[in-house]
Symmetry: none
Subunit: 399 residues, 2 copies
């Protein structure tokens, strides 16, 4: 099916904006209550409904909760099951590290250990990014056997390790138990082809602990998400798009780079993203705008704050419409209900505003209203087809 679609794709200048409120989908706190989106005042999105088709989409089918990477891969038109992306790769590409085939990347957390080696703080007191950069530098540049080791800061207590050299594999278990009061695990090989990688990782940990021993609260490290770079065909190859990402957070820049998007750097928040959007408007025809804080507030369990984030994004809609996109797709990558303080498997509402639509006739952009839309339920990865079709980028099949 993907192949058929891709063969029909044609290039044109029509512009598609994909506006993602991370973790948009929600739940009401009480059975008779409203979700975050139902509660939010969204006059601009609601006005768009008059020229939008609506629905709900499912990233990974029924009952499966997506992480951020598969959630976004789906929105970009990829089957998330076909392209599993490990945490380490998301982290490395997120900071723009030029990964090569065969590299193994791992997320590294600085942590605090007591004198027995038990972890007492998995985030090293949330050290600032500058401190993380300094410590990463201290660990960077080891050579273990024939393997080069790069260590790069990400954000706060989070860094990234990249192992480069022959014979590596990502089939190595996490050292992070995700618990405190216990020591980290050794990096164990999960298959025989990972024996070398596990040995190298163990030596790395050992040397790192030596170098960090006087650096409390950052006197320990936790490794999580050993991952190799998968081969993902780009949006350009697949859909003849010229795509650009406007995201604040490194991980979303990372996923965007994996599908071949250009990435605009140094966007501290939404108004900067909007400004950048208008600046690069002439150079691209697919614009991914990512808003992180709807998800963060959901993860915090802060219903009101998530509502406020939705309202903030709503207020950005006119600035986007001023640019006259041919297609505007507004949705989330997954649900993060404040009720659950976590990602969830619930389907995500979307609207797609364009000229050639049959307006769904809804009065409010919400989970419940979108149930009455035309597209209920569709797989996330099919949304891009709608966007491209409504931007006249898909030729007819057959005579």
């Amino acid at each position: 099916m993907d192949t058929v679609f891709e063969a029909l794709v044609r290039e044109n200048d029509k512009k598609i904006v994909l506006l993602v409120m991370d973790g948009l989908g929600g739940l009401s706190l009480t059975p008779d209550g409203k979700t975050e989106l139902e509660t939010a005042m969204t006059p601009n999105l609601d006005r768009l409904l008059a020229r939008s088709e609506c629905g709900l989409h499912l990233p990974l089918g029924i009952g499966i909760t997506p992480g951020s990477a598969p959630g976004h891969l789906g929105l970009f038109g990829y089957d998330p099951f076909k392209y599993p992306i490990g945490r380490g790769v998301v982290a490395a590409t997120g900071i723009g590290f030029p990964l090569k085939a065969g590299d193994v990347a791992v997320r590294l957390n600085f942590a605090t250990a007591d004198e027995k080696g038990n972890i007492i703080d998995r985030r090293a007191g949330r050290i600032p990014t500058e401190k993380c950069a300094e410590l990463s530098k201290l660990l960077d540049g080891m050579k273990i056997e024939d393997i080069e080791v790069f260590v790069r800061p990400v954000k706060d207590y989070r860094a990234c390790v990249i192992f480069r050299g022959p014979g590596l594999s990502d089939e190595v278990a996490d050292t992070d138990t995700q618990k405190t009061e216990v020591p980290p695990l050794d990096p164990e090989p999960l298959s025989t082809k990972a024996t070398k990688t596990a040995r190298i990782a163990k030596a790395f940990v050992s040397e790192a602990l030596q170098r960090l021993k006087d650096k409390k609260p950052a006197n320990a490290i936790l490794l999580r998400g050993f991952a190799e770079l998968p081969h993902i065909p780009s949006l350009k190859e697949r859909f003849k798009l010229k795509p650009v990402a406007l995201a604040v957070y490194p991980d979303y820049k990372g996923v965007s780079r994996l599908v071949g998007m250009d990435v605009i750097e140094d966007l501290p928040e939404l108004s900067a993203q909007l400004k950048a959007l208008s600046q690069v408007w002439g150079q691209y025809n697919f614009f991914f705008i990512h808003h992180k804080y709807t998800d963060s507030k959901g993860e915090d369990g802060d219903f009101k704050a998530k509502v406020a984030e939705i309202e903030k994004v709503d207020s950005a809609i006119p600035a986007i419409l001023d640019l006259k996109p041919d297609v505007l797709l507004v949705t989330g990558d997954h649900s993060t209900p404040a009720l659950l303080k976590a990602h969830s498997c619930h389907p995500i509402p979307f609207l797609i505003a364009a000229q050639a639509v049959r307006p769904s006739g809804l009065s409010k952009f919400s989970e419940r209203e979108c149930l009455r839309g035309a597209w209920n339920m569709i797989r996330s990865q099919e949304l891009i087809r709608l966007a491209m079709a409504y931007a006249d980028k898909v030729q007819k099949f057959g005579a």
Copy 2:
């Protein structure tokens, strides 16, 4: 997809109740009338709607009517096309007969033949179970060539034959024509590898007729559903569940055993099922409650009686809710409209009550209302995913 889901499953103590009204889905008797479920007064189910997601599910896709075994396999999360289960196996496992690999089981009906050997009553005047047990004993224990033959009573005129020994196959045609005024057929092999089995079965029939010749009205037998035991991975293996079945009828116990459920015996009717539910509540986390009579009344074409059975089950809801299940899924395995006096291919309404749902806002639990629910149409086998996700038994996919 199944593999991905299974890899994400985690064990916890949260409890799922699957309440099945067999043949629940219905049709109205007149175009402007109501279905059985629409007619039934179901105050308890209707009250549950305030905290339920609703929808309709399809066991075998559009236009295919399921038998009981595939209907239930779907509800248990199995692809019914992948695990065809013959009638003989359902019968044998239903009575708890310990089938071994290579056994071939067949349903046997005692019947009445006239002096020419033509069948005049396919159910031998519905002889009671005690008579069936006595006659089964009379036929039990033959040794034909190197094959052992077991005959066991099931219920009323229905029994079960198990052939055990080398070189058997289930590719043998039924002897039951499902007609009267004609003789039974010979058991014909449907492939060359079933030649031996057909020969053994023919010898068994011949000897059985000898032994039954003075036993009118049970002076003949009909064989139906030659079947081997398929390998079905258990609910424990696949979903880390501790499941138990609370069913009155042998066939449903049989299907439950095939997926590795424990089965509570000697439950004559619904109140005994509810009592047993509360007794075993602490020992399991998946409870399958089966109510047969909605289907029986549908098969009888007795619309009113089916309505009454639905109302009876509705009145059992409070007793289930008193136990505080984390997830309560109420549905049927297929439709059995009284109008048709038979199973049908129509989708089946369901409700799933849990904390983490978006209530569908329906006012009555019915086929028509459920069309407006969130899940319309989904495959039966995906329902268990929803139940497991809402019981927090599924981990996130991807970083």
